[in-house]
């Protein structure tokens, strides 16, 4: 990869997003270091998905800018999109083809050479316990298997930055633990991971750095230890105040 010279994976400055008269993001600044495991938390409707979609270029910002490894993510869209793998909050699986075929098209979109792609697909299907379903279409999969498929898709082009939007929502405990182990290992390989989650223990368990998004602003952004300390030992405190005012549903 050609990103060696930038230590910052993602830099967001002054990011704004407005829908009609709703100011979802009101000027967000974030700096996510290469190789960090970063948690983006906040109550429902805080704007986590919006932020992630703007980073990935799926939503247009109303102001501010995003740099991926030091380069504007829209001007240098090819590099930016190659650098990022997204597993979104909503399933977005192709319903036409069996898993392995749909993954082949997906991988070829990133220009991965045929043989390498074939091996990569085999490896990931095994790793995520989807190999026996390789000839099934996605609508035949259970919710948990669909989640795994979302992960495989995000990882297929071996991105430097993995972005996971609520990856364990509605997933059984076993898969959650498997996924946690996988993510730790992936992070140890030097990859950057950004995670949004409703499960606070997930963030406490995995992330090194945590930002909390609230009412369109970053309420706090620090190392996990500092964030927990400021929250008097329990991250939930941030949400409890939110819960009273806007109805937080985990």
């Amino acid at each position: 990869m050609k990103f060696q010279n930038s230590k910052v994976a993602i830099e967001i400055s002054g990011l704004k997003k407005t829908y009609g008269t709703t100011h979802v993001l009101q000027g967000i600044d974030l700096k996510i270091q290469r190789g960090s495991f970063f948690g983006l938390l906040g109550p429902n409707g805080a704007g986590k998905t919006t932020t992630i979609h703007i980073i990935c270029g799926l939503t247009l910002a109303s102001g501010g800018r995003v740099q991926i490894f030091g380069k504007d993510h829209l001007t240098h869209y090819r590099e930016a999109r190659r650098a990022i793998g997204l597993s979104g909050q909503e399933y977005n699986l192709d319903r036409f083809f069996p898993l392995h075929k749909s993954l082949t098209y997906h991988g070829r979109l990133f220009g991965i050479p045929k043989l390498k792609l074939k091996n990569q697909i085999e490896k990931l299907l095994h790793q995520f316990g989807l190999h026996e379903h390789r000839n099934h279409k996605t609508h035949k999969l259970s919710g948990g298997l669909k989640r795994r498929m979302m992960m495989v898709k995000a990882l297929l082009h071996d991105p430097e930055i993995l972005i996971l939007d609520e990856p364990t929502a509605g997933v059984d405990v076993e898969l959650r633990i498997d996924l946690w182990n996988f993510l730790r290992k992936f992070n140890q390989e030097g990859k950057t991971i950004i995670l949004t989650t409703h499960y606070l223990e997930e963030a406490e368990n995995l992330c090194q750095e945590i930002a909390i998004l609230s009412k369109g602003k970053i309420a706090i952004c620090d190392t996990k230890e500092n964030v927990i300390q400021q929250a008097k030992g329990n991250l939930m405190n941030y949400f409890i105040t939110e819960k009273q005012s806007e109805g937080f549903n985990a």
Binding site: G57, R78, N92, Y105, L109, G111
Partner: protein
């Protein structure tokens, strides 16, 4: 061998390939029905009713309408493909995978357009072959006919992309088909020669781009000219270019793709 292309062109070809695989997986819904419909048209209008209709410029009625039927099948196949494909992938969010890939918006649009062109031309050629066999017709100029098939397919594939982006519900697509496309096709001279019409309608006909596509194909297949084939060619090229530019701009803007 493909692996020698630059990565983003591999991606482009993969997207075209996927588009073709999508309709080929449902051949019985996407390729065969237009052929059956055409055969029915030829049997009903050509062989039974057509005998009671006078020759049009030395051509029997059936010969005269075959180019129109070919054109109609190209238009519907190309349009249905692109509008359906874009709409579906918006509906199940799989369009996000395309938007997240390193392809440029130009490449994305071109790949979707090509998918529609390939389906339109494939169906058009099959309809043309069945028509020619049933009516013992030999096309006057294969290359001119093919050129018009491709250009017509491009126009309606691009148009389909536009409608696919614009529509938010299935019935909006059907609405477009029934209240816009069908009248445009039927009033474009698929089933008649324009000089059979009263002057006012002749004028209206000349404003309909479909008329120039029909004329072009009729020239290619029958060597029949109401307007110069070169005039038709220019008008068709211009329409195609305009529509394609619009779709590229819409993709760049993220029109109904990005909130």
């Amino acid at each position: 061998m493909l692996d020698r292309f630059p990565p983003h062109w591999i991606g482009f070809l993969s997207l075209v390939h996927r588009e073709v695989a999508r309709f080929m997986a449902y051949k019985s819904m996407t390729v065969f029905p237009p052929i059956l419909t055409t055969i029915l048209y030829i049997v009903v209008f050509g062989f039974s009713l057509g005998g009671r209709i006078q020759e049009i410029h030395t051509f029997s009625y059936i010969e005269f309408i075959i180019p129109g039927l070919v054109l109609m099948s190209v238009i519907m196949s190309a349009f249905n493909h692109s509008s359906g494909s874009i709409f579906m992938s918006k509906y199940d969010y799989s369009i996000q995978d395309v938007l997240l890939s390193p392809l440029s918006y130009f490449q994305m649009v071109m790949a979707f357009t090509l998918g529609g062109i390939i389906r339109g031309v494939l169906v058009g050629l099959l309809v043309l072959a069945s028509g020619c066999i049933l009516a013992h017709l030999t096309p006057h100029s294969i290359s001119f006919t093919l050129l018009f098939l491709i250009l017509t397919a491009q126009i309606f594939s691009s148009f389909g992309i536009w409608v696919g982006l614009w529509s938010e519900r299935w019935d909006q697509q059907a609405f477009f088909m029934n209240f816009f496309l069908m009248p445009m096709i039927f009033l474009g001279g698929v089933f008649y020669a324009v000089n059979m019409l009263p002057p006012v309608w002749q004028f209206v006909n000349h404003l309909n781009p479909v008329y120039y596509m029909v004329s072009g194909i009729r020239y290619g297949m029958l060597n029949f000219q109401e307007v110069s084939p070169w005039t038709s060619l220019w008008i068709v090229l211009l329409s195609g270019f305009t529509l394609m530019s619009i779709t590229i701009v819409l993709f760049r803007m993220g029109y109904k793709l990005k909130s």
